[in-house]
Symmetry: C2
C-alpha cells in the first residue's frame, strides 16, 4: 500500500494556510478572496481546490484553530463555579464567535456535521465547548434534577441564542452578558 505524502504537498498546503492567515489579518474573514490567497501563496487557483474542498473548508480550519485557542485559554484557568464566573470564563470564546457576522454565520452553519461521518473541525469545537462546560457544571453547585450533560447542552443553546440576539434589532435593548446571565440563572439554578 503506497503512502506517498509528498513533501511538496505539505509545503504547498502550509503556504496556502499562511497566505490565507495573512490575508485575513489585513481584511478580516469576510473579505477573503480565493484569488488573493493563491496569488499570495504563489500557486494556481486549481491548486487551492486540490487542497481544500471549497472556500468554506479553509475557513473552517482557520476559524476552528482560533476557537480552539480560545478554548485552550478557557480550560487553562481554574474552573468557574458560579454563573457569572462561567460566563466570564467563556467570554473570549464568545467574543471571537461574534467578532464578525460572517464568522458567526459560518460557525452556526458548520456547528453540526454536514453529513454522517463528515464531521468538520468546527463541529469538533462545539463538541469541545460542550464537554468543557459539562465538566465545570459537574463540580459546581447547580440543580441536580437533570444530568449535567443536559445542562451543558442548554448552556450552549442559550449562548447561541444570546449571541444571535446581538444581531437582532428587535432585541437589542439588553447586552449579551446580561441576557446570557438571565438565561443561565433560570436554567442552572431554578428557584423551586
Amino acid at each position: 500500500m503506497r503512502k506517498p505524502i509528498q513533501k511538496r504537498t505539505i509545503k504547498t498546503r502550509a503556504k496556502l494556510l499562511s497566505a490565507a492567515e495573512e490575508v485575513i489579518r489585513h481584511g478580516g474573514y469576510e473579505a477573503l478572496r480565493v484569488e488573493e490567497v493563491v496569488k499570495a501563496a504563489g500557486v494556481a487557483k486549481g491548486t487551492f481546490f486540490a487542497h481544500f474542498r471549497d472556500k468554506d473548508a479553509l475557513m473552517e480550519i482557520l476559524i476552528a484553530d482560533k476557537l480552539n485557542a480560545c478554548l485552550d485559554q478557557a480550560q487553562s484557568e481554574t474552573p468557574p463555579k458560579t454563573v457569572p464566573e462561567i460566563i466570564a470564563s467563556l467570554e473570549p470564546v464568545h467574543e471571537f464567535m461574534t467578532s464578525e457576522r460572517y464568522v458567526f454565520d459560518l460557525l452556526i452553519r458548520y456547528s453540526g456535521a454536514t453529513a454522517i461521518a463528515d464531521i468538520g473541525p468546527i463541529a469538533y469545537c462545539f463538541e469541545r465547548y460542550f464537554r468543557v462546560v459539562m465538566m465545570w457544571l459537574e463540580t459546581a453547585e447547580m440543580r441536580k434534577d437533570v444530568p449535567s450533560e443536559l445542562l451543558a447542552e442548554g448552556v450552549q443553546a442559550f449562548a447561541i441564542q444570546a449571541m444571535s440576539l446581538q444581531y437582532c434589532a428587535l432585541h437589542s435593548a439588553t447586552t449579551f452578558t446580561d441576557r446570557l446571565e438571565t438565561y443561565l440563572d433560570a436554567w442552572l439554578t431554578p428557584a423551586g
Copy 2:
C-alpha cells in the same frame, strides 16, 4: 407628493413571485436559480434585482410566507397546555423549518435582523413564534419563578438547538421530538 406605484410594478413583482414559487415547487428551494425565475417570469435579469435586493431577499419572502401559514395553523388550534402538546402544536412549524438544509440555514441567518431598522420577514416570523409560545405558556401550568417571556425565549433556543442537532452526526442517536421534550421538561417544569 410623488407616490407613483405603477401598476406595471406590482404586476411584474407578482409575476416574479409566482414564477419563483413554480420553480420551487419543482426543484425545491436550494435549486432555485435567478435566471430560471426571470425566464419563467418573462423579464430580464436586471428587473429581478430592481424588485428584490438579492436572491436571499426573495427567499426570505417565500419562506416567511410558508412559515406564517404554519404559524396560522398552530395558532388556530386550541392552545396547548403541556410540553408534549406544545411540541405537537409546533410540529408543522418545525417540520417546515427543517424540510431542507438550505431553508434551515437561511432561517437562522435571517432570524435576527441584519441591521437596525432592517428587519426582514423572517425576523418577524421568529418574533411571532416567540409571542405565540409566550401566550401558550401564560395559561399553562409551568414554573412561575421566571416571566413567561423568558420561558418563551428559552423554548425558541431549545427548539433551534434540537433542530440543529438533527443535522449533526455527533448527536444523531436521539430523535428531534424526544430531544426537545427532554429540553422543555427540564426548562419549563424543573423539579425543585
